[in-house]
């Protein structure tokens, strides 16, 4: 039981690391940080213009699947449209494991 929980913990944190490991996926998070709630079209436009990412819409969509699995991106259906939202909550697992704010900076 505890082994299963441990596995679940590791796999969910692992997904975040895997999601962050790719520069295109980090660019996706940068652009959603700049403006939350974009269509796939807007995101692709931004990736091409600001990051030189010429990936196909299908490839970007696959990156979004990985980010969604890691909980970093939420696809929200609103009527006939789908908007993409950033959720940075999973990143907390990283700073909870390796806190950044409890140690004094070295002299």
């Amino acid at each position: 039981m505890s082994g299963k929980l441990l596995l679940a913990y590791h796999s969910s944190v692992g997904d975040v690391f895997k999601a962050l490991a790719d520069p295109t996926r980090r660019a996706v998070l940068d652009e959603l940080q700049d403006r939350d709630g974009q269509t796939l079209f807007e995101l692709c436009t931004r990736l091409i213009n600001r990051h030189g990412v010429g990936s196909s819409r299908q490839a970007v969509s696959q990156h979004l699947d990985v980010l969604e699995d890691a909980g970093l991106v939420v696809r929200r259906r609103a009527g006939r449209y789908t908007f993409l939202h950033l959720d940075t909550a999973p990143l907390r697992a990283i700073t909870e494991r390796w806190p950044t704010d409890h140690r004094e900076a070295p002299p």
Binding site: T39, L40, F41, T45, R46, R57, T82
Partner: protein, 130 residues
């Protein structure tokens, strides 16, 4: 050879004519009864002899799934040029128009994407004077 006409596939021609004239500001060029539908085209008041936009019925069974797939991903079907995108965005928002993309500057171009209420997304684009 020159491009004289282009078209958008609309779910309701009368509603489309109202939107493209009353809201967007185009002028009716042709409005001819044609069986169960009409042959309707509009032009820009800035170029009344320019390209006509035909408001064509989307009655073909393949048309609606195609349109829905584009809309779901936020992809505009066509684009219109504007002189002042921010002003048009403010004006059209005031008229209740839904934008799926607010003005976004990318290099020399600023774009926004609106819903034409007839099943299409339309991009507005302003190219900076060089």
């Amino acid at each position: 050879m020159k491009i004289a006409m282009t078209s958008v596939l609309v779910d309701d021609q009368e509603k489309a004519l109202r939107f493209y004239t009353d809201v967007l500001g185009f002028q009716t060029r042709h409005d001819v009864p044609l069986g169960t539908h009409r042959w309707i085209s509009v032009v820009s008041p800035q170029s009344p002899d320019g390209v006509e936009l035909v408001l064509e019925p989307d009655a073909h069974p393949a048309a609606r799934p195609f349109k829905q797939a584009l809309v779901a991903d936020g992809i505009p079907y066509t684009a219109f040029a504007v002189d002042d995108l921010q002003a048009e965005f403010t004006r059209l928002s005031g008229l209740g128009v839904t934008f799926t993309q607010e003005p976004l500057q990318m290099g020399p171009a600023t774009t926004a994407v609106l819903d034409d209420t007839c099943g299409n997304l339309i991009q507005l684009i302003q190219i900076a004077n060089t």
